[in-house]
Symmetry: C2
Subunit: 130 residues, 2 copies
């Protein structure tokens, strides 16, 4: 993997935030420094970087793919109103759970994703009735 300026800026910008941006959001961020970067380049690099394990790809509930510079395992909360995804720093469940699932399905289990759905702090403050 070559070290290109585009790839480096993408990594830097992703490292600055903890909002799990989508490819399009990240492209907007990167374009503040590199106005001519192509959305396709952002997608391709996010793909390459996540395949190599340098970043994490978060593919939860029915929306665009999101990306995270933090590769450590953790859980997420997805807001049903604004669509934001934030970290939930609960202890990650051990292999016992995955082994139980593997046994039940007679399958090979590599990992698990746990996503909480609800309404984020901001949206709760903005709207009553959640």
């Amino acid at each position: 993997m070559r070290k290109t300026r585009q790839r480096q800026v993408i990594l830097e910008e992703l490292g600055k935030v903890n909002t799990h941006p989508t490819a399009a959001e990240l492209c907007t961020m990167v374009r503040r420094r590199m106005p001519h970067i192509s959305l396709g380049t952002v997608y391709r690099n996010l793909d390459i970087l996540s395949r190599s394990g340098a970043i994490a790809r978060i593919d939860v509930g029915g929306e665009e793919m999101r990306f995270d510079a933090a590769v450590s395992r953790h859980y997420h909360l997805r807001c049903l109103r604004c669509g934001s995804v934030e970290d939930v720093d609960l202890p990650v469940m051990g292999s016992t759970l995955e082994e139980a699932a593997a046994k039940l399905c007679q399958a090979q289990v590599c990992g698990h994703n746990l996503e909480f759905v609800g309404y984020c702090r901001n949206c709760c403050a903005r709207e009553v009735g959640f």
Copy 2:
């Protein structure tokens, strides 16, 4: 909500399988009985039925939406090779977990989705090295 033949056949066909078909897959199934049904009709009905709670919409990991006639809460295993989604009949975790997440995020948590990723039984049998 009216009782149309299209809606009924969609429900019946979805009830026959436990494979969590996508809208396109379900459309193919329904077309064996109603060759002229429109894909848009399938989508619209799946949306209406899932909003009313008659069926479940499963939106896990970065692929098409899937649908399930079984509305009871349960977990899923997604195969990284063939993309299939099957049920994992582990006990669903109680509200303690959701309350902990809500407290951590100062948010309102309505539920959670747990998805195991790995390789399904069939793919394990077909390919070595999983």
